[in-house]
Amino acid sequence: MATSAREHAHAPAPSKTGLWSWLTTVDHKRIGILYGASAFIFFLIGGLEALLIRWQLRIPENNFLSAEAYNQLFTMHGTTMVFLAVMPLSAMLFNYLIPLMIGARDVAFPRLNAFSYWVFILGGLFMNASFLFNAAPDAGWFGYANLTSKQYSPGMNVDFWVIGLQILGVASLAAAVNFFVTIINLRAPGMKLMRMPMFVWMSMITQVLLLLAFPVITVALVFLLTDRMFGTGFYIPAQGGDPILWQHLFWIFGHPEVYILILPPFGIVSEILPVFSRKPLFGYAAMVFSGAFIAFLGFGVWSHHMFSTGLGPIADSVFSLTTMLIAIPTGVKIFNWIGTLWGGSLQMKTPLYYALGFIALFVIGGLSGVMHASPPADLQQTDTYFVVAHFHYVLFGGAIFAMVGGAFYWWPKMFGYMLREGLGKVQFWIMFIAMNLTFFPMHYAGLHGMPRRTYTYVAGLGLDWLNLVETIGSLGLAVAFTLFMVNIFVSFRGRKANPAPADPWNGATLEWSIPSPPQEFNFPEIPTVEGRDPLWTAKRKHGGPLPEPKRVDGSNIHLPNPSYWPLVTAIGMSIMLIGFMAGGLPVNLIGVAILFFGAFRWAFEPTG
């Protein structure tokens, strides 16, 4: 990026490096990198929490952790991985890739994009600041009422959770509006909806889910907040409230949230498989419609998380049916991925390893998921390690494998150098084996009746060796991610010797048509698209690989000015919400004042 020679023609040239340039950046690529770096750090924190949990459970009746500490760790592990790791890792890719893939210079609202990032990082830091007060959230990542009531959780723990999630929700909603509009409106000429790369399609569906699901948890959290702060009784039976309402509202959000986590990885895999099979994605239209169908059905299945609350036979049947139905479009996707590989000339590069790992592990997770769709089976499995096994196959075997594959795939584009293939493949095998060692025995532990979220277990129930194997597996996962960091370090050190060309993998999508890393303006000229896989078309027409694109002077290209008002507004927003927990009304009002001040300056500053 330092090599960009672009200057502003009509504004003082902003400095391109240093802290200030990052605090005021509105460049989607830089914001993407900020998201990625932050999310990876949170991922490591969440991973550390998981290791502590596993270390406690490695032997029966262990007292390495107290019950209280254990509660905080599993709550923060879940909350961190969902809201602070997987979602922002997706946000990194939305930011970095969507404008490049649709042939745009930036997102629709660059400053709103910066605002989303700052709100996200403030929310994440706030949530983790709870550890400093020894009051990390401890009521589980889905914070069931009435465990979260003031009566049963008198400390600040749940307050951190409620307010932290509320802040993070603002970030997600702002980003969702931005990316949805970006995809609809900023596509390059000829980039019709049915020509968009599958990652962009899955991202767009994800934004729709975010837009429709997050308002619901916002309301659920508002009720919890007023119950705790002002004494209302939304979830308190003694005041006429109903704790089950929380479960409904949470899962109306929570099930679509699962697809918010997994659809972007579906998109990643759908980009990797065709490129390394050397043939177009099989069943493009079926992939699009199955994704949309999954998202649509995703709003009609939420009560499968609540069979054990006694919904009655009618509701049980309806939600069981819709849940089983959702397996059909998911199966369509899996067959299409296999169809893409079928007969392809497979290039066994690192990203393909992870994409193949994804398919295998996600199928296992999907199958155990369909098992929970049956209420009688679910009553046996719910709240046991069987469920833990299921969603780790989906989210670790699925989402994380795809993310790591995506990291190997797009790293050269983002940073201009290749990651080491050999180390990447070693990491894959360690990850693949360790992942199964960690999570496969959980199926058995769960069916033997081992409950989730209990800090220990007694010896002699047949759980001892299963848990020991799981802990050994989790250490293997730690090794795998250490190797990933070593790979980044070693590759960075050797970046001069291993620079990335514009198109290292023979890619099909537009991001590979520009230098690695891209210049600030992305495309010197907005491309015109004539079909799917535009770069393959161009190469075919050209009769071979395209010449390496040159870095050009873009001083005549109009780009938005940097701005610090998104940061100010984000700080105001966070202070306003934190006021509910500390300082009360004066702090709320200070937050509102900063929020309005920032928003007005933002609205009226020249955008360049």
Partner: protein
């Protein structure tokens, strides 16, 4: 390079639709689910309050452990008046927008001021209503009716207030002569938000106030 040039350089959008207008509609779609959650809660908790006061008169209601005559807190005439004002303010902003689009500054400023006044009146009505209910013994935490009612209508009122602030900002622009016809979109966006707040009330009014 002037700002007008800068705007002219924005490439045409893929759909031909204005990006900001698309964003406000996307946001409005999202808000539907926000109010749906609040309204659902109000309805789910209907008749679940353990103590009074309650919204409507009832000859037989179970309160404090015994059947008795209960008096409702709702003042239908007052809220009907507020509802009408909010509805008309939607009409006012339509007039203001057509004034802005045709470059009729008098029409723009007049009707937009009327919209802001209408919005302020509605907020005032709501503040008075809350105050009145409070004096009838209906605190925020009194029962699940009061909690869900105040949260739902309070959030709606917050939206009205934000709408008033937004429209006032546009009004200031208009008075300063910074809202020429080619920038009428600045008002159109605020007007769309304002109409949305109005249609939410069109749902709340019968569902909350008129259904027993």
């Amino acid at each position: 390079m002037s700002h007008a040039d800068a705007h002219a350089m924005h490439p045409p959008t893929a759909t031909g639709l204005d990006t900001r207008k698309l964003a406000i509609w996307t946001f409005i779609g999202s808000e539907c689910l926000f109010f749906a959650s609040l309204i659902s809660t109000y309805l789910v908790y209907k008749g679940k309050s353990l103590v009074g006061p309650l919204p409507h008169d009832a000859s037989q209601c179970m309160l404090d452990g015994r059947m008795q005559q209960c008096e409702g807190v709702f003042e239908i005439p007052l809220v009907t008046f507020g509802t009408a004002v909010l509805l008309f303010s939607s009409y006012f902003v339509v007039k203001a927008l057509s004034g802005a689009q045709r470059g009729n500054r008098k029409q723009l400023i007049g009707w937009l001021s009327a919209t802001v006044v209408g919005g302020l009146f509605f907020v005032g009505m709501q503040v008075y209503e809350f105050y009145h209910f409070f004096h009838k013994g209906l605190g925020y935490t009194t029962n699940v009716f009061s909690a869900s009612f105040y949260t739902l209508t309070g959030f709606h009122g917050t939206h009205v207030t934000l709408g008033v602030i937004w429209l006032s900002t546009v009004l200031v622009l208009a008075i300063r002569g910074k809202l020429p016809p080619e920038k009428a979109l600045n008002l159109e966006l605020a007007a769309l938000y304002w109409h949305f707040v109005d249609v939410v009330w069109i749902v709340i009014f019968p569902v909350v106030y008129l259904m027993k």
